[in-house]
Protein backbone atom coordinates (compact mmCIF):
# COMPACT_ATOMS: atom_id res chain seq x y z
CA UNK A 1 0.00 0.00 0.00
CA UNK A 2 1.23 3.47 -0.74
CA UNK A 3 0.40 6.84 0.66
CA UNK A 4 -0.08 8.86 -2.51
CA UNK A 5 -1.41 6.59 -5.22
CA UNK A 6 -2.80 9.29 -7.43
CA UNK A 7 -2.17 13.00 -7.61
CA UNK A 8 -5.58 13.90 -8.93
CA UNK A 9 -7.33 12.19 -6.05
CA UNK A 10 -5.56 14.38 -3.56
CA UNK A 11 -7.67 17.35 -2.56
CA UNK A 12 -4.99 19.41 -0.87
CA UNK A 13 -2.77 21.91 -2.66
CA UNK A 14 0.10 21.17 -0.32
CA UNK A 15 -0.14 17.51 -1.14
CA UNK A 16 -0.03 18.15 -4.86
CA UNK A 17 2.99 20.38 -4.46
CA UNK A 18 4.58 17.71 -2.32
CA UNK A 19 4.11 15.07 -4.97
CA UNK A 20 5.58 17.30 -7.64
CA UNK A 21 8.59 18.09 -5.50
CA UNK A 22 9.12 14.45 -4.65
CA UNK A 23 8.73 13.45 -8.25
CA UNK A 24 11.25 16.09 -9.20
CA UNK A 25 13.75 14.77 -6.68
CA UNK A 26 13.30 11.22 -7.90
CA UNK A 27 13.66 12.37 -11.48
CA UNK A 28 16.86 14.13 -10.47
CA UNK A 29 18.25 10.81 -9.30
CA UNK A 30 17.28 9.27 -12.61
CA UNK A 31 18.80 12.14 -14.57
CA UNK A 32 22.05 11.61 -12.76
CA UNK A 33 22.32 8.20 -14.38
CA UNK A 34 21.58 9.70 -17.77
CA UNK A 35 24.24 12.34 -17.18
CA UNK A 36 26.83 9.74 -16.31
CA UNK A 37 25.87 7.45 -19.16
CA UNK A 38 25.93 10.41 -21.51
CA UNK A 39 29.30 11.50 -20.21
CA UNK A 40 30.73 8.01 -20.67
CA UNK A 41 29.30 7.79 -24.19
CA UNK A 42 30.73 11.15 -25.12
CA UNK A 43 34.17 10.13 -23.95
CA UNK A 44 34.01 6.61 -25.36
CA UNK A 45 32.57 7.61 -28.74
CA UNK A 46 35.90 8.46 -30.43
CA UNK A 47 37.26 5.05 -29.47
CA UNK A 48 34.31 3.20 -30.89
CA UNK A 49 34.51 5.17 -34.11
CA UNK A 50 38.28 4.96 -34.44
CA UNK A 51 38.93 1.46 -33.25
CA UNK A 52 35.67 -0.12 -34.31
CA UNK A 53 33.18 -1.70 -31.97
CA UNK A 54 34.10 -5.26 -32.85
CA UNK A 55 37.79 -4.79 -32.07
CA UNK A 56 36.92 -4.71 -28.37
CA UNK A 57 35.78 -8.30 -28.62
CA UNK A 58 37.87 -9.76 -31.43
CA UNK A 59 41.37 -8.29 -31.02
CA UNK A 60 44.21 -10.58 -30.02
CA UNK A 61 44.81 -9.03 -26.61
CA UNK A 62 44.62 -5.86 -24.53
CA UNK A 63 47.69 -3.85 -25.47
CA UNK A 64 46.31 -0.39 -26.17
CA UNK A 65 49.69 1.20 -26.82
CA UNK A 66 50.24 -1.32 -29.62
CA UNK A 67 46.65 -0.97 -30.76
CA UNK A 68 45.02 -4.13 -29.41
CA UNK A 69 41.82 -3.59 -27.50
CA UNK A 70 40.22 -6.90 -26.49
CA UNK A 71 38.34 -6.39 -23.24
CA UNK A 72 36.63 -9.76 -22.86
CA UNK A 73 39.22 -11.13 -20.42
CA UNK A 74 38.51 -8.23 -18.10
CA UNK A 75 34.76 -8.66 -18.43
CA UNK A 76 35.23 -12.24 -17.29
CA UNK A 77 37.57 -11.11 -14.55
CA UNK A 78 35.00 -8.65 -13.21
CA UNK A 79 32.17 -11.16 -13.46
CA UNK A 80 34.05 -14.02 -11.81
CA UNK A 81 35.32 -11.91 -8.93
CA UNK A 82 31.88 -10.40 -8.39
CA UNK A 83 30.03 -13.72 -8.63
CA UNK A 84 32.44 -15.43 -6.28
CA UNK A 85 32.18 -12.65 -3.74
CA UNK A 86 28.39 -12.37 -3.94
CA UNK A 87 27.94 -16.13 -3.66
CA UNK A 88 30.11 -16.15 -0.56
CA UNK A 89 29.00 -12.92 1.04
CA UNK A 90 25.24 -13.35 0.59
CA UNK A 91 24.84 -16.44 2.79
CA UNK A 92 27.43 -15.11 5.22
CA UNK A 93 25.77 -11.71 5.41
CA UNK A 94 22.30 -13.13 5.87
CA UNK A 95 23.59 -15.60 8.45
CA UNK A 96 25.32 -12.77 10.24
CA UNK A 97 22.02 -10.87 10.45
CA UNK A 98 20.18 -14.02 11.56
CA UNK A 99 22.83 -14.64 14.17
CA UNK A 100 22.38 -11.09 15.37
CA UNK A 101 18.61 -11.45 15.67
CA UNK A 102 18.02 -14.98 16.84
CA UNK A 103 21.16 -16.53 18.26
CA UNK A 104 23.51 -13.99 19.77
CA UNK A 105 23.05 -13.12 23.45
CA UNK A 106 21.51 -9.70 23.98
CA UNK A 107 24.60 -8.01 25.40
CA UNK A 108 26.55 -9.15 22.37
CA UNK A 109 24.21 -7.84 19.67
CA UNK A 110 24.95 -4.13 19.94
CA UNK A 111 28.76 -4.40 19.84
CA UNK A 112 28.51 -6.91 17.01
CA UNK A 113 26.24 -4.61 15.00
CA UNK A 114 28.50 -1.64 15.69
CA UNK A 115 31.45 -3.60 14.39
CA UNK A 116 29.64 -4.44 11.15
CA UNK A 117 28.62 -0.80 10.72
CA UNK A 118 32.20 0.18 11.25
CA UNK A 119 33.41 -2.26 8.66
CA UNK A 120 31.04 -0.84 6.07
CA UNK A 121 33.02 2.37 6.25
CA UNK A 122 36.59 1.16 6.19
CA UNK A 123 38.23 2.44 3.01
CA UNK A 124 38.93 -0.09 0.34
CA UNK A 125 42.53 1.08 0.47
CA UNK A 126 42.81 -0.36 3.96
CA UNK A 127 41.34 -3.69 2.89
CA UNK A 128 43.55 -3.61 -0.17
CA UNK A 129 46.62 -2.87 1.91
CA UNK A 130 45.80 -5.69 4.28
CA UNK A 131 45.22 -7.98 1.31
CA UNK A 132 48.50 -6.97 -0.31
CA UNK A 133 50.60 -7.27 2.81
CA UNK A 134 48.98 -10.20 4.63
CA UNK A 135 46.64 -12.21 2.40
CA UNK A 136 48.51 -12.23 -0.93
CA UNK A 137 51.79 -13.58 0.53
CA UNK A 138 49.77 -16.29 2.30
CA UNK A 139 48.15 -17.34 -0.97
CA UNK A 140 51.55 -17.06 -2.63
CA UNK A 141 52.97 -19.65 -0.25
CA UNK A 142 50.08 -21.95 -1.10
CA UNK A 143 50.37 -21.48 -4.83
CA UNK A 144 52.51 -18.77 -6.48
CA UNK A 145 52.30 -15.99 -7.56
CA UNK A 146 49.82 -14.96 -4.87
CA UNK A 147 47.86 -12.09 -6.39
CA UNK A 148 44.96 -14.01 -7.83
CA UNK A 149 41.27 -14.41 -8.41
CA UNK A 150 41.09 -16.05 -5.00
CA UNK A 151 42.63 -13.04 -3.30
CA UNK A 152 40.22 -10.78 -5.18
CA UNK A 153 37.20 -12.84 -4.19
CA UNK A 154 38.30 -12.96 -0.55
CA UNK A 155 38.84 -9.23 -0.26
CA UNK A 156 35.62 -8.44 -2.11
CA UNK A 157 33.70 -10.81 0.13
CA UNK A 158 35.03 -9.08 3.21
CA UNK A 159 34.19 -5.71 1.69
CA UNK A 160 30.59 -6.35 0.65
CA UNK A 161 29.70 -8.49 3.64
CA UNK A 162 28.90 -5.51 5.89
CA UNK A 163 26.64 -3.99 3.25
CA UNK A 164 24.63 -7.18 2.85
CA UNK A 165 24.65 -7.92 6.57
CA UNK A 166 23.37 -4.45 7.50
CA UNK A 167 20.58 -4.47 4.92
CA UNK A 168 19.60 -8.00 5.95
CA UNK A 169 19.68 -6.96 9.58
CA UNK A 170 17.38 -4.01 8.91
CA UNK A 171 14.94 -6.10 6.90
CA UNK A 172 14.84 -8.95 9.42
CA UNK A 173 14.03 -6.43 12.11
CA UNK A 174 10.96 -5.43 10.15
CA UNK A 175 9.43 -8.88 9.73
CA UNK A 176 6.10 -8.58 11.58
CA UNK A 177 6.36 -10.15 15.01
CA UNK A 178 3.04 -11.98 14.51
CA UNK A 179 4.79 -14.41 12.16
CA UNK A 180 7.38 -15.09 14.78
CA UNK A 181 4.83 -15.61 17.53
CA UNK A 182 2.75 -17.84 15.31
CA UNK A 183 5.72 -19.98 14.44
CA UNK A 184 6.84 -20.27 18.02
CA UNK A 185 3.37 -21.15 19.24
CA UNK A 186 3.36 -23.94 16.66
CA UNK A 187 6.50 -25.29 18.25
CA UNK A 188 8.50 -24.79 15.07
CA UNK A 189 12.20 -24.93 15.75
CA UNK A 190 14.21 -21.75 15.53
CA UNK A 191 15.87 -22.86 12.34
CA UNK A 192 12.63 -23.79 10.55
CA UNK A 193 11.08 -20.52 11.63
CA UNK A 194 14.01 -18.61 10.17
CA UNK A 195 14.36 -20.64 7.01
CA UNK A 196 10.72 -21.02 6.06
CA UNK A 197 9.08 -17.89 7.45
CA UNK A 198 11.42 -15.09 8.42
CA UNK A 199 13.72 -15.18 5.40
CA UNK A 200 10.92 -15.42 2.80
CA UNK A 201 9.10 -12.57 4.56
CA UNK A 202 12.23 -10.43 4.35
CA UNK A 203 12.95 -11.10 0.67
CA UNK A 204 12.53 -7.52 -0.48
CA UNK A 205 15.09 -6.13 1.94
CA UNK A 206 17.45 -9.02 1.38
CA UNK A 207 17.42 -8.55 -2.37
CA UNK A 208 18.08 -4.83 -1.97
CA UNK A 209 21.06 -5.78 0.14
CA UNK A 210 22.28 -8.17 -2.52
CA UNK A 211 21.89 -5.54 -5.24
CA UNK A 212 23.88 -3.05 -3.20
CA UNK A 213 26.43 -5.79 -2.61
CA UNK A 214 26.67 -6.60 -6.31
CA UNK A 215 27.02 -2.92 -7.02
CA UNK A 216 29.85 -2.47 -4.60
CA UNK A 217 31.54 -5.70 -5.70
CA UNK A 218 31.55 -4.88 -9.36
CA UNK A 219 32.39 -1.23 -8.82
CA UNK A 220 35.25 -1.81 -6.41
CA UNK A 221 38.47 -0.43 -7.77
CA UNK A 222 41.40 0.17 -5.46
CA UNK A 223 41.34 -3.07 -3.50
CA UNK A 224 40.99 -5.09 -6.70
CA UNK A 225 43.91 -3.25 -8.23
CA UNK A 226 46.03 -4.13 -5.23
CA UNK A 227 45.34 -7.85 -4.84
CA UNK A 228 44.26 -9.33 -8.17
CA UNK A 229 47.56 -9.29 -10.04
CA UNK A 230 46.11 -7.31 -12.95
CA UNK A 231 47.28 -9.66 -15.68
CA UNK A 232 44.89 -9.44 -18.60
CA UNK A 233 43.80 -13.06 -19.01
CA UNK A 234 40.77 -15.20 -18.34
CA UNK A 235 41.62 -16.99 -15.10
CA UNK A 236 41.46 -20.77 -15.46
CA UNK A 237 41.69 -21.47 -11.76
CA UNK A 238 41.41 -19.66 -8.45
CA UNK A 239 45.15 -19.02 -8.24
CA UNK A 240 45.45 -17.30 -11.61
CA UNK A 241 45.95 -13.55 -11.56
CA UNK A 242 43.38 -11.53 -13.48
CA UNK A 243 42.26 -7.96 -14.06
CA UNK A 244 38.84 -6.42 -13.49
CA UNK A 245 37.33 -3.70 -15.64
CA UNK A 246 37.54 -1.22 -12.79
CA UNK A 247 41.17 -1.99 -11.99
CA UNK A 248 41.90 -1.54 -15.68
CA UNK A 249 40.48 1.96 -15.62
CA UNK A 250 42.29 2.95 -12.44
CA UNK A 251 45.55 1.37 -13.51
CA UNK A 252 45.82 2.94 -16.93
CA UNK A 253 43.70 6.09 -16.86
CA UNK A 254 46.47 8.09 -15.25
CA UNK A 255 48.79 7.50 -18.19
CA UNK A 256 46.39 7.01 -21.07
CA UNK A 257 45.95 9.41 -23.97
CA UNK A 258 43.63 9.68 -26.94
CA UNK A 259 42.39 6.30 -28.19
CA UNK A 260 43.70 4.47 -25.17
CA UNK A 261 41.86 6.88 -22.90
CA UNK A 262 38.68 6.60 -24.92
CA UNK A 263 38.99 2.82 -24.83
CA UNK A 264 39.16 2.98 -21.05
CA UNK A 265 35.94 4.97 -21.02
CA UNK A 266 34.48 2.31 -23.23
CA UNK A 267 35.37 -0.30 -20.60
CA UNK A 268 33.54 1.86 -18.08
CA UNK A 269 30.59 1.89 -20.40
CA UNK A 270 30.77 -1.88 -20.75
CA UNK A 271 30.81 -2.19 -16.98
CA UNK A 272 27.53 -0.30 -16.85
CA UNK A 273 26.15 -2.75 -19.40
CA UNK A 274 27.17 -5.71 -17.25
CA UNK A 275 25.61 -4.06 -14.21
CA UNK A 276 22.35 -3.33 -16.03
CA UNK A 277 22.09 -6.98 -17.05
CA UNK A 278 22.74 -8.10 -13.47
CA UNK A 279 20.25 -5.66 -11.98
CA UNK A 280 17.55 -6.66 -14.43
CA UNK A 281 18.21 -10.32 -13.68
CA UNK A 282 17.90 -9.79 -9.92
CA UNK A 283 14.80 -7.68 -10.49
CA UNK A 284 13.28 -10.50 -12.53
CA UNK A 285 14.09 -13.14 -9.94
CA UNK A 286 12.69 -10.94 -7.20
CA UNK A 287 9.45 -10.37 -9.10
CA UNK A 288 8.97 -14.08 -9.48
CA UNK A 289 9.65 -15.02 -5.91
CA UNK A 290 7.74 -12.44 -3.93
CA UNK A 291 4.53 -13.48 -2.25
CA UNK A 292 2.11 -10.60 -2.40
Amino acid sequence: MILLPNITLSPSRVDQLLVWILQGLAAFAGILVLLIVGFLMLEAFPAVRQIGFLSFFSDASWHPVEGFYNVMAMVWGSLLAMLGAVLLATPLGICSAVFCHFYAPTWFVEPYRKLIELLAGIPSVVYGLWGLVVLVPLIGQLHPPGPSLLAGISILTIMILPTIALMADASLAKVPSVYLRGAIALGLSRWTTIRCIIIPAATSGLSTGIILGIGRAIGETMAMLMVCGNVVQVPTNLFDPMRTLTANIALEMAYAVEDHRAALFFTGFLLLGVVIVMVLAVDYIKQRHTYA
Binding site: V178, C196, P200, Y291
Partner: protein
Protein backbone atom coordinates in the same frame (compact mmCIF):
# COMPACT_ATOMS: atom_id res chain seq x y z
CA UNK B 1 -4.10 -9.42 49.84
CA UNK B 2 -2.58 -12.45 48.28
CA UNK B 3 -3.95 -15.03 45.93
CA UNK B 4 -4.75 -17.33 48.82
CA UNK B 5 -7.73 -15.40 50.10
CA UNK B 6 -9.28 -15.26 46.70
CA UNK B 7 -8.86 -18.94 46.08
CA UNK B 8 -10.91 -19.58 49.15
CA UNK B 9 -13.90 -18.50 47.18
CA UNK B 10 -13.74 -21.91 45.59
CA UNK B 11 -14.54 -23.52 48.93
CA UNK B 12 -17.92 -21.91 49.16
CA UNK B 13 -19.14 -23.82 46.18
CA UNK B 14 -22.89 -24.21 46.16
CA UNK B 15 -23.65 -21.14 48.24
CA UNK B 16 -25.94 -19.06 46.14
CA UNK B 17 -27.72 -16.90 48.58
CA UNK B 18 -26.72 -13.67 46.92
CA UNK B 19 -27.27 -14.62 43.35
CA UNK B 20 -30.80 -15.97 43.52
CA UNK B 21 -32.35 -12.62 43.95
CA UNK B 22 -30.15 -11.00 41.35
CA UNK B 23 -31.21 -9.60 38.03
CA UNK B 24 -30.66 -12.16 35.30
CA UNK B 25 -29.66 -10.67 31.99
CA UNK B 26 -28.93 -13.95 30.26
CA UNK B 27 -32.19 -15.83 30.25
CA UNK B 28 -32.46 -19.39 31.51
CA UNK B 29 -29.24 -21.35 31.45
CA UNK B 30 -29.23 -24.20 29.05
CA UNK B 31 -27.67 -27.29 30.58
CA UNK B 32 -25.11 -29.03 28.42
CA UNK B 33 -24.24 -32.65 28.60
CA UNK B 34 -21.04 -33.05 30.56
CA UNK B 35 -18.47 -33.50 27.84
CA UNK B 36 -15.39 -33.63 29.93
CA UNK B 37 -14.09 -35.75 32.66
CA UNK B 38 -13.26 -33.66 35.71
CA UNK B 39 -9.67 -34.73 35.38
CA UNK B 40 -7.23 -31.83 35.76
CA UNK B 41 -4.76 -31.56 32.91
CA UNK B 42 -3.22 -28.17 33.62
CA UNK B 43 -2.43 -27.21 37.19
CA UNK B 44 -1.20 -23.84 38.33
CA UNK B 45 0.08 -23.36 41.91
CA UNK B 46 0.55 -19.79 43.08
CA UNK B 47 1.65 -18.78 39.64
CA UNK B 48 2.89 -15.19 39.22
CA UNK B 49 4.32 -13.43 36.22
CA UNK B 50 6.46 -10.30 36.20
CA UNK B 51 7.59 -8.11 33.36
CA UNK B 52 10.77 -6.82 34.88
CA UNK B 53 9.50 -5.73 38.30
CA UNK B 54 5.96 -5.06 37.17
CA UNK B 55 3.64 -7.94 38.01
CA UNK B 56 1.16 -8.97 35.30
CA UNK B 57 -0.72 -11.35 37.58
CA UNK B 58 0.03 -12.84 40.93
CA UNK B 59 -0.84 -15.94 42.90
CA UNK B 60 -3.02 -17.83 40.47
CA UNK B 61 -3.86 -21.35 41.65
CA UNK B 62 -6.16 -23.17 39.34
CA UNK B 63 -6.85 -26.41 37.49
CA UNK B 64 -8.01 -26.76 33.92
CA UNK B 65 -9.80 -29.98 33.08
CA UNK B 66 -8.99 -32.33 30.25
CA UNK B 67 -11.25 -32.18 27.22
CA UNK B 68 -13.13 -29.17 28.47
CA UNK B 69 -13.54 -25.74 27.01
CA UNK B 70 -12.45 -23.21 29.58
CA UNK B 71 -13.04 -19.49 29.15
CA UNK B 72 -11.05 -16.71 30.74
CA UNK B 73 -13.00 -13.50 31.11
CA UNK B 74 -12.27 -10.21 32.78
CA UNK B 75 -11.35 -6.63 32.00
CA UNK B 76 -8.31 -5.63 29.96
CA UNK B 77 -5.01 -5.76 31.82
CA UNK B 78 -6.14 -8.40 34.25
CA UNK B 79 -3.49 -10.86 33.06
CA UNK B 80 -5.66 -13.26 31.04
CA UNK B 81 -3.44 -13.23 27.96
CA UNK B 82 -0.33 -13.30 30.14
CA UNK B 83 -1.68 -16.39 31.85
CA UNK B 84 -2.38 -17.95 28.46
CA UNK B 85 1.13 -17.33 27.21
CA UNK B 86 2.52 -19.09 30.28
CA UNK B 87 0.88 -22.32 29.17
CA UNK B 88 3.10 -22.65 26.08
CA UNK B 89 5.95 -20.60 27.43
CA UNK B 90 5.64 -17.82 24.89
CA UNK B 91 6.79 -15.81 27.89
CA UNK B 92 10.30 -16.89 26.92
CA UNK B 93 10.11 -14.38 24.08
CA UNK B 94 9.68 -11.38 26.33
CA UNK B 95 12.96 -10.06 27.68
CA UNK B 96 12.95 -9.65 31.44
CA UNK B 97 9.88 -11.80 31.92
CA UNK B 98 9.93 -13.91 35.11
CA UNK B 99 7.55 -16.59 36.22
CA UNK B 100 7.25 -17.71 39.83
CA UNK B 101 5.22 -20.66 41.06
CA UNK B 102 4.30 -24.04 39.65
CA UNK B 103 2.65 -24.85 36.37
CA UNK B 104 2.23 -28.39 35.13
CA UNK B 105 0.72 -29.93 32.04
CA UNK B 106 -0.09 -33.55 32.84
CA UNK B 107 3.17 -34.84 34.32
CA UNK B 108 5.22 -32.14 32.67
CA UNK B 109 6.52 -29.25 34.73
CA UNK B 110 6.17 -26.43 32.19
CA UNK B 111 8.80 -24.09 33.60
CA UNK B 112 11.37 -26.72 34.53
CA UNK B 113 14.83 -26.30 33.07
CA UNK B 114 14.86 -29.63 31.28
CA UNK B 115 11.47 -29.19 29.62
CA UNK B 116 11.68 -29.46 25.84
CA UNK B 117 9.95 -26.25 24.86
CA UNK B 118 9.41 -27.24 21.25
CA UNK B 119 7.76 -30.48 22.39
CA UNK B 120 5.61 -28.52 24.81
CA UNK B 121 4.49 -26.09 22.13
CA UNK B 122 3.72 -28.93 19.81
CA UNK B 123 1.28 -30.22 22.42
CA UNK B 124 -0.11 -26.79 23.12
CA UNK B 125 -1.38 -25.02 20.02
CA UNK B 126 -2.20 -21.34 20.05
CA UNK B 127 -4.54 -19.09 18.09
CA UNK B 128 -4.04 -15.33 18.22
CA UNK B 129 -6.45 -12.46 18.17
CA UNK B 130 -5.41 -11.40 14.69
CA UNK B 131 -5.16 -14.22 12.20
CA UNK B 132 -1.48 -14.70 11.43
CA UNK B 133 -1.01 -17.07 8.52
CA UNK B 134 2.56 -17.07 7.29
CA UNK B 135 3.27 -15.24 4.03
CA UNK B 136 3.29 -18.56 2.20
CA UNK B 137 0.73 -20.53 0.24
CA UNK B 138 -2.17 -22.22 2.05
CA UNK B 139 -0.60 -25.62 1.52
CA UNK B 140 2.80 -24.53 2.75
CA UNK B 141 1.25 -23.02 5.87
CA UNK B 142 -0.04 -26.45 6.82
CA UNK B 143 2.88 -28.44 5.48
CA UNK B 144 5.45 -26.51 7.46
CA UNK B 145 4.59 -27.87 10.94
CA UNK B 146 4.20 -31.38 9.52
CA UNK B 147 7.58 -31.36 7.88
CA UNK B 148 9.07 -29.90 10.99
CA UNK B 149 7.99 -32.99 12.88
CA UNK B 150 9.26 -35.36 10.28
CA UNK B 151 6.14 -36.07 8.23
CA UNK B 152 7.61 -35.57 4.78
CA UNK B 153 5.75 -38.19 2.75
CA UNK B 154 3.68 -36.25 0.21
CA UNK B 155 0.72 -38.62 0.32
CA UNK B 156 0.50 -38.47 4.08
CA UNK B 157 0.82 -34.69 4.26
CA UNK B 158 -1.81 -34.22 1.55
CA UNK B 159 -4.15 -36.51 3.40
CA UNK B 160 -3.61 -34.72 6.71
CA UNK B 161 -4.06 -31.32 5.08
CA UNK B 162 -7.35 -32.36 3.50
CA UNK B 163 -8.58 -33.93 6.71
CA UNK B 164 -7.69 -30.94 8.86
CA UNK B 165 -9.11 -28.43 6.41
CA UNK B 166 -12.27 -30.51 6.45
CA UNK B 167 -12.30 -30.38 10.22
CA UNK B 168 -12.24 -26.60 10.19
CA UNK B 169 -14.74 -26.48 7.33
CA UNK B 170 -12.33 -24.83 4.93
CA UNK B 171 -11.71 -27.67 2.49
CA UNK B 172 -14.62 -26.95 0.18
CA UNK B 173 -13.70 -23.28 0.05
CA UNK B 174 -10.04 -23.66 -0.79
CA UNK B 175 -9.50 -27.14 -2.23
CA UNK B 176 -8.81 -25.88 -5.73
CA UNK B 177 -6.52 -23.02 -4.71
CA UNK B 178 -4.21 -24.54 -2.15
CA UNK B 179 -1.24 -22.84 -3.74
CA UNK B 180 -2.42 -19.25 -3.58
CA UNK B 181 -0.90 -17.06 -0.85
CA UNK B 182 -2.71 -17.52 2.44
CA UNK B 183 -2.87 -13.79 2.92
CA UNK B 184 -5.43 -13.57 0.11
CA UNK B 185 -8.04 -15.40 2.18
CA UNK B 186 -10.70 -13.45 4.08
CA UNK B 187 -10.21 -12.77 7.78
CA UNK B 188 -12.49 -15.60 8.91
CA UNK B 189 -10.87 -18.02 6.50
CA UNK B 190 -7.44 -16.96 7.67
CA UNK B 191 -8.39 -17.59 11.28
CA UNK B 192 -9.78 -21.03 10.43
CA UNK B 193 -6.58 -21.75 8.54
CA UNK B 194 -4.62 -20.79 11.65
CA UNK B 195 -6.77 -23.16 13.71
CA UNK B 196 -6.16 -25.87 11.14
CA UNK B 197 -2.46 -25.17 11.32
CA UNK B 198 -2.55 -25.65 15.08
CA UNK B 199 -4.75 -28.76 14.85
CA UNK B 200 -2.69 -30.52 12.22
CA UNK B 201 -0.17 -31.56 14.85
CA UNK B 202 -3.03 -32.99 17.00
CA UNK B 203 -2.10 -31.05 20.13
CA UNK B 204 -3.57 -31.82 23.56
CA UNK B 205 -4.33 -28.26 24.41
CA UNK B 206 -5.48 -25.36 22.26
CA UNK B 207 -4.99 -21.82 23.53
CA UNK B 208 -7.08 -19.08 21.98
CA UNK B 209 -6.52 -15.42 22.58
CA UNK B 210 -9.76 -13.68 21.62
CA UNK B 211 -9.93 -15.65 18.37
CA UNK B 212 -13.11 -13.97 17.12
CA UNK B 213 -12.62 -10.38 18.18
CA UNK B 214 -10.87 -9.28 14.96
CA UNK B 215 -13.53 -10.85 12.74
CA UNK B 216 -16.90 -9.70 11.44
CA UNK B 217 -19.96 -11.18 13.18
CA UNK B 218 -20.61 -13.69 10.40
CA UNK B 219 -17.06 -15.07 10.31
CA UNK B 220 -16.98 -14.82 14.05
CA UNK B 221 -20.03 -17.10 14.22
CA UNK B 222 -18.41 -19.63 11.90
CA UNK B 223 -15.22 -19.68 13.94
CA UNK B 224 -17.17 -19.89 17.18
CA UNK B 225 -19.10 -22.90 15.91
CA UNK B 226 -15.82 -24.48 14.97
CA UNK B 227 -14.43 -23.90 18.45
CA UNK B 228 -17.54 -25.37 20.03
CA UNK B 229 -17.09 -28.49 17.89
CA UNK B 230 -13.57 -28.92 19.24
CA UNK B 231 -14.88 -29.45 22.74
CA UNK B 232 -14.27 -32.99 23.93
CA UNK B 233 -11.46 -33.68 21.45
CA UNK B 234 -9.14 -31.01 22.75
CA UNK B 235 -8.62 -29.13 25.93
CA UNK B 236 -9.42 -25.58 24.85
CA UNK B 237 -8.51 -22.51 26.86
CA UNK B 238 -10.04 -19.36 25.42
CA UNK B 239 -9.67 -15.74 26.39
CA UNK B 240 -12.70 -13.73 25.38
CA UNK B 241 -14.31 -10.39 26.05
CA UNK B 242 -17.55 -11.62 24.68
CA UNK B 243 -19.42 -12.86 27.74
CA UNK B 244 -22.27 -14.23 25.70
CA UNK B 245 -19.80 -16.24 23.72
CA UNK B 246 -18.17 -17.61 26.85
CA UNK B 247 -21.54 -18.59 28.14
CA UNK B 248 -22.54 -20.22 24.87
CA UNK B 249 -19.53 -22.40 24.35
CA UNK B 250 -17.53 -22.84 27.56
CA UNK B 251 -17.74 -25.61 30.12
CA UNK B 252 -15.71 -23.82 32.72
CA UNK B 253 -15.01 -20.16 33.19
CA UNK B 254 -12.85 -17.97 35.33
CA UNK B 255 -12.84 -14.30 36.07
CA UNK B 256 -9.64 -12.28 36.25
CA UNK B 257 -9.64 -8.84 37.83
CA UNK B 258 -7.15 -6.01 38.29
CA UNK B 259 -6.22 -4.86 41.75
CA UNK B 260 -3.73 -1.97 41.87
CA UNK B 261 -2.55 -2.84 38.39
CA UNK B 262 -1.98 -6.49 39.27
CA UNK B 263 -4.10 -9.23 37.74
CA UNK B 264 -5.72 -11.80 39.98
CA UNK B 265 -7.99 -14.79 39.60
CA UNK B 266 -11.21 -13.82 41.34
CA UNK B 267 -13.42 -16.78 40.71
CA UNK B 268 -13.48 -19.95 38.70
CA UNK B 269 -15.85 -22.82 38.24
CA UNK B 270 -18.35 -24.39 35.88
CA UNK B 271 -19.80 -21.86 33.52
CA UNK B 272 -23.21 -22.34 35.14
CA UNK B 273 -21.78 -21.24 38.45
CA UNK B 274 -20.08 -18.15 37.04
CA UNK B 275 -23.06 -16.98 35.10
CA UNK B 276 -25.90 -18.24 37.31
CA UNK B 277 -24.61 -18.24 40.87
CA UNK B 278 -21.45 -16.17 41.07
CA UNK B 279 -19.73 -16.37 44.43
CA UNK B 280 -17.98 -13.06 44.25
CA UNK B 281 -19.48 -9.61 44.12
CA UNK B 282 -17.19 -8.55 41.34
CA UNK B 283 -18.17 -11.53 39.22
CA UNK B 284 -21.79 -10.77 39.68
CA UNK B 285 -21.20 -7.15 38.80
CA UNK B 286 -19.05 -7.95 35.79
CA UNK B 287 -21.32 -10.47 34.14
CA UNK B 288 -24.35 -8.28 34.66
CA UNK B 289 -22.51 -5.47 32.95
CA UNK B 290 -22.51 -3.19 35.98
CA UNK B 291 -18.74 -3.00 36.10
CA UNK B 292 -15.81 -3.72 33.88
Amino acid sequence: MGGGTLVEAKDVLGMSARSTSRFQPWGPFEERSACCEPHPLIRAEKLSLYYGNTPAFEGVSWSIYQGCLTALVGPSGSGKTSFLTCLNRLTDLIPGCRVIGELSLGDLNVFAEQTDVLQLRRQVGMIFQKPNPFPLSIRKNLELPLREYGIIDRGRTDHLIEQTLNDVGLWREVQDRLDVPALRLSGGQQQRLCIARALILSPQVLLMDEPCSALDPLSSGVVEDLIARLRGQYTVVIVTHNLAQARRIADYASLFWVHDGVGQLIEEGPVSQIFETPQHDLTAAYISGVRG
